[in-house]
Symmetry: C2
Subunit: 312 residues, 2 copies
């Protein structure tokens, strides 16, 4: 019988594994809880980059080159904004923009982010349950040597150049988990920490009241987003270095030490397996780099088999 799985994820890396899991689990056995700490307001729109990447990936619409955005995209809007002297620092494709608009329109009408996400999933044929971590705004602030920066300012506008000193998640003190989050966790046989940035993708989710506690009661398996000392995508490795840690799957394991029963690391990191096991975390060493849909399903299968074996 299939496990009931809850996956916690950020954007590009996390959505690849979530997609693999979605392809092999019955739809009602998979709930994906997505970071909304990257969300921001731009051109009067509420933009949810991690939710968008997850939606496009699960719907088969993602741009395979970038990992974010859509594969069938056009750029007339942004080209014209540039002609008109408007802000172009955030990439907005014509079709992508429609999702931001329709989401923002529904939010302004009073729908919750959870309701809007559910609607979007229905229209795009996504049958698993996709939930934002919270309907309340939580915004990741990156504390850097250049001051405190809103996440998209740090990530996109400044291309992660400033040196990171720490993080704050504004609004997290009062945010509550989105409807369904705690229920899905309580029913889960397994929680998967997808290969997403520990600092700015997974930590914000776990910082929402009640989520970390609910996760800690479950079998938790993580997939390292760091392979051979480098992040497959994004600034995770740079962040570890700047915060004084050696970027490695061992550092990721230590990061989530209190939660993890098992950890999936790449073959390149085989030499770290014993150190991770010394943290009382079981280790699966395999190929974790997902270059195509087969890789996603293959890693999903391995994660599930690894978790099932641990539970026996």
């Amino acid at each position: 019988m299939a496990l009931r799985v809850v996956a916690l994820a950020g954007g590009v890396g996390g959505s690849k594994l979530a997609h693999g899991l979605a392809e092999i689990l019955p739809p009602d056995h998979l709930t994906v809880i997505v970071n909304t700490g990257d969300d921001f307001e731009h051109l009067g729109l509420t933009i949810c980059p991690d939710l968008d990447t997850m939606i496009y990936t699960l719907a088969g619409l993602a741009n395979p080159q970038t990992g974010w955005g859509r594969k069938d995209e056009t750029w007339g809007f942004l080209e014209t904004i540039e002609t008109l002297g408007g802000p172009t620092w955030f990439q907005l494709g014509d079709r992508d923009l429609a999702l931001h608009h329709e989401r923002s329109r529904r939010l302004k009408e009073g729908q919750s982010l959870t309701e809007v996400t559910q609607h979007v999933c229905q229209t795009l044929g996504i049958s698993i349950t996709l939930l934002p971590m919270s309907d309340d705004p939580v915004r990741t602030i990156v504390i850097t040597d250049k001051g405190e920066l809103a996440f998209q300012n740090y990530f996109v506008a400044r291309r992660c150049a400033p040196c990171v000193r720490g993080f704050r998640f504004t609004g997290v003190e009062t945010a509550i988990p989105a409807p369904g989050v705690i229920q899905a966790l309580s029913k889960a046989d397994l929680v998967v920490l997808c290969p997403s940035n520990p600092w700015v993708s997974l930590d914000p989710i776990l910082a929402v009241k009640g989520i970390r506690d609910a996760v800690s009661e479950k079998s938790v398996v993580g997939v390292s987003p760091i392979v051979g000392g480098k992040a497959i995508k994004g600034p995770a490795a740079k962040m570890y270095s700047e915060l004084g840690f050696r970027p490695s799957s061992l550092s990721v394991a230590e990061h989530f030490q209190d939660l993890l029963a098992g950890m999936v690391i790449d073959k390149k990191d085989q030499h770290l397996a014993s150190d991770i096991q010394a943290l009382n975390i079981r280790v699966l060493v395999t190929n974790t780099i997902m270059k195509n849909e087969q890789d996603r399903m293959g890693l999903g299968e391995e994660v599930l088999a690894f978790a099932s074996a641990m539970m026996v």
Copy 2:
């Protein structure tokens, strides 16, 4: 020496003659004052359909098939909005949308509509002076047998089907002319009423405090938007009928009788010339249908020659 001209205009028809005038007059001799009564809020954006049509036409970007919108347009945004179950009743091309966004962004930053329009003209290479009738919101309400309808609701969503009983211009009591409007009129040698809808394009402009008085002190020449009893574009003829008037260039002449020194009518309406002249309005009979850029310039030349001859 070239006349100093102020043209009052709405959208498609008016912008064609304005374009013709812009091609033959020195840029500093032409000011076009555009109706903003059709403006509306949609998807959180301030949309100014007549200003947009005028801008695209003057910039050489207009779609020659429709008269509105851009010729180099793509539709990924609206197609995706439709997929997502959002509102699609108002056509929003990807490039057109960028103008609405950038205008709205600047308005929210505190720029006036006049300032934003000036900026857009600069970026698109428009060198004549283009002014909204007012920086204050004035909104045309169409009073119909189906109730009072905001203009775009009547015009686009309901395709002008309801029977018209009258019009209201909300906000016009307190609106003041945009900076430059009264000054341009006071310096003008000639005011041209472009072939725009008298009820919902020209009347709103003339209803803004001080504009009608300033126009009435000038030589005014109108070009009839009605030819052979029909409007070249839009619901002007239907409105005349529903309000109890025979739609004709004579009705248009009567409409602006107190302002007009001269009237340009189409050859098809030659039989109405004497009735118009009986209103103490001089008449030029010519081809008024502008099918291409040559026609626009040709009609512009004829209007200017007719006005010059009147002034001698």
